[in-house]
Symmetry: C2
Subunit: 211 residues, 2 copies
């Protein structure tokens, strides 16, 4: 998986990496083998460089983890910052904005967000990232609640359950979306927004189900 597409500046016959590229290859290795199971030796193999060459870029495996999780979280937090400062929009539009933009953030930061979603919280770095992740659910719940109070969306399901189910749909992309296939992200975001707001029922259909 390593050193085929990067722009190598060879040094003593070994490929050299820009920091960004090195980090993204490491994160893909974490996602493939699991963070715990990925030693610096495994990273060196994936990169095709020596362990000491990695230490030229980063102090430790955990520094890579922390960097990747922060990148994912900042992207997601920025979505909420933007939603909360939207002007001339009603509360339901803020929920729609977050739903759509979170899909884009997940696709843009695919490997970093995938790593974030697989965390178990076995270290302080992970525990802190999980705390920031929970805060995102709190912020979506708050937006949903505001829209419910404005009677713009249904009030018979709790704001927290709605927020979790919306994130459930979006986060599932980490398990089935394949960025390399170049699928249309806008169409994907549309589908998630449509399912989140209107579900799959055909509002023009006349059949009655048991609901």
């Amino acid at each position: 998986m390593a050193n085929q597409s990067h722009t190598a500046s060879t040094k003593r016959g070994r490929p050299g990496y820009e920091r960004e590229e090195l980090l993204s290859i490491c994160v893909r290795a974490f996602n493939e083998y699991g963070y715990e199971a990925t030693s610096m030796g495994v990273l060196a193999d994936a990169l095709g460089i020596t362990k000491s060459a990695i230490y030229h870029h980063v102090k430790s495996k955990e520094e890579i983890l922390e960097y990747a999780l922060n990148r994912a979280l900042v992207s997601l937090e920025e979505v909420f910052d933007a939603a909360e400062s939207l002007e001339d929009s009603n509360p339901a539009e803020a929920v729609e904005f977050v739903t759509r933009q979170t899909v884009y953030a997940l696709v843009e930061q695919f490997d970093n967000v995938t790593l974030l979603l697989r965390l178990r919280g076995n270290s302080q770095v992970e525990t802190e990232a999980l705390e920031r992740r929970r805060e995102l659910t709190n912020r979506l719940s708050a937006l949903v609640k505001t829209a419910q109070e404005a009677k713009e969306i249904r009030q018979d399901i709790s704001d927290r359950t709605i927020a979790r189910l919306i994130f459930g749909m979006i986060n599932s992309l980490a398990t089935w979306y394949r960025p390399e296939r170049g699928e249309n992200v806008e169409k994907l975001a549309d589908a998630v927004v449509q399912m989140a707001f209107d579900g799959m029922a055909d509002s023009t259909a006349t059949s009655t189900t048991a609901r």
Copy 2:
């Protein structure tokens, strides 16, 4: 987490386990530490018995994994078997049946399904389980497609995307539902069905969003 609630039949001063109970404690350990990171020694600690006492019940760690994954998959497969043999129901009702019953199956087989959803596919047992898991998505996609052809549900999102987003909502329960809190499962299943079919939009609301 071990030997506090089990019905111990002590043997030479060590707690004895029924096979079922031993397996469920092992699966919880897999979910807590990760399957790869959970050695037979870790399992022995979790159970409060010796490694050789575990071998009295199972041949290997992988046998426990295989058993747990099979339990989860059989429960989920049974939901589809039942849906596909429903009589006097329209296609949309079959989709609703699967959505609701899959929530129940996940809650009933919580630890086993959680283990299934975290699989990476690093061994033959895992690869085969992932194959059976993919087949569930195929079966839901087929039910969705039939309902789309009958014009009972929306046709502007592909059957596969709808199936994946529904499973995304349901599977997210493994990350946030807490069985020990004894929340009302029926209410939870209702919420998932309502979101899957009708989304969060308040059909009685008059406000217009940008959709």
